[in-house]
Symmetry: C2
Subunit: 148 residues, 2 copies
DNA sequence: CCATTTTCGTCAGAGGGTCTGACCATCGTC
DNA sequence: GACGATGGTCAGACCCTCTGACGAAAATGG
């Protein structure tokens, strides 16, 4: 991911800045709201928990980490009260990771911050350019995201 | 960075996929070429070394890490023979981190891979959409990258 | 219906990346 | 020259992630 001598940077690197900015804003806002024990890694796992709960293995697969890593992160989320594990009624081996009350609060706040940041970006780029940006990124995802 | 229930994902997250894909490709290709002792963190530091060498403090600032972290990574890069530290003739305290021969080789290869991946993306999106994407990301960088 | 294989999850251990805090040497300035 | 600012290192800690090994439950297939 090298920065070329002329100002031209590769597209992968250019994608990095907005992503980092979004994550930093999220983390800062959540911390300011009292959710100061959350980390980015935890967030990336938590973001993939479905409404009815999700298996650890699925979380790991979608987040592109090992089961062990996902388990470790869920341990922390559970200890902090953001999620809880319940038995999966359809499979004796499995457990479902489900959002707890405290977790839902974080999700609501995170959504608001995301919308806020996107609004700022739209103000900078203009409506049309932003829509094109989103469309391009979504198409790009087809070939850069192994998970759909 | 939550994934919303409907398919719509926030722009920060959408930016993540291409970035991750680019980094993964780079790392895999470099490893296959025999540079198998390099890591992403090292790459992010190394990418910021200028032609005449760069001070550790500047590397740290641009990469948004502490001096200690940058120093640690440069240690590894030096041990692997990618860079070397030379005294800064203009400042007795400072040392310049400069690319070594082996480092230059990596940079050349990395540039080629980046161009390759961008070509694939362009093939998927089309020339015009790719140009627009780049323009939008560059404008977005103005407000999402604290370093210029 | 049982044996085998697969899947779900955990435990244990290791290495890498990053940070804070303390510290020394040198530079620049008054 | 004295003193604050700057470049860099050392030490210690924490978090993230991985590999390997394993037990329990489910799925498969005679």
């Amino acid at each position: 991911m090298t920065a070329e001598p002329n100002g031209r940077q590769n597209l992968g690197l250019l994608c990095f800045y907005p992503h980092r900015a979004m994550e930093a804003r999220l983390l800062a806002t959540l911390a300011a709201a009292g959710f100061d024990d959350i980390t980015m890694a935890q967030g990336r796992i938590a973001a993939r928990i479905g409404p009815a709960g999700t298996r650890l293995t699925d979380l790991a697969e979608q987040a592109l980490v090992t089961k062990q890593t996902a388990g470790h992160l869920v341990d922390q989320l559970e200890r902090s009260g953001y999620v809880r594990r319940v038995p999966d009624p359809t499979d004796g081996r499995a457990r479902l990771v489900r959002m707890a009350e405290r977790g839902e609060q974080v999700v609501h706040l995170a959504r608001r911050v995301e919308a806020e940041v996107e609004a700022e970006w739209t103000a900078h780029l203009g409506e049309e350019a932003t829509a094109q940006l989103r469309a391009a990124l979504e198409r790009l995802r087809e070939i850069t995201d192994p998970y759909r």
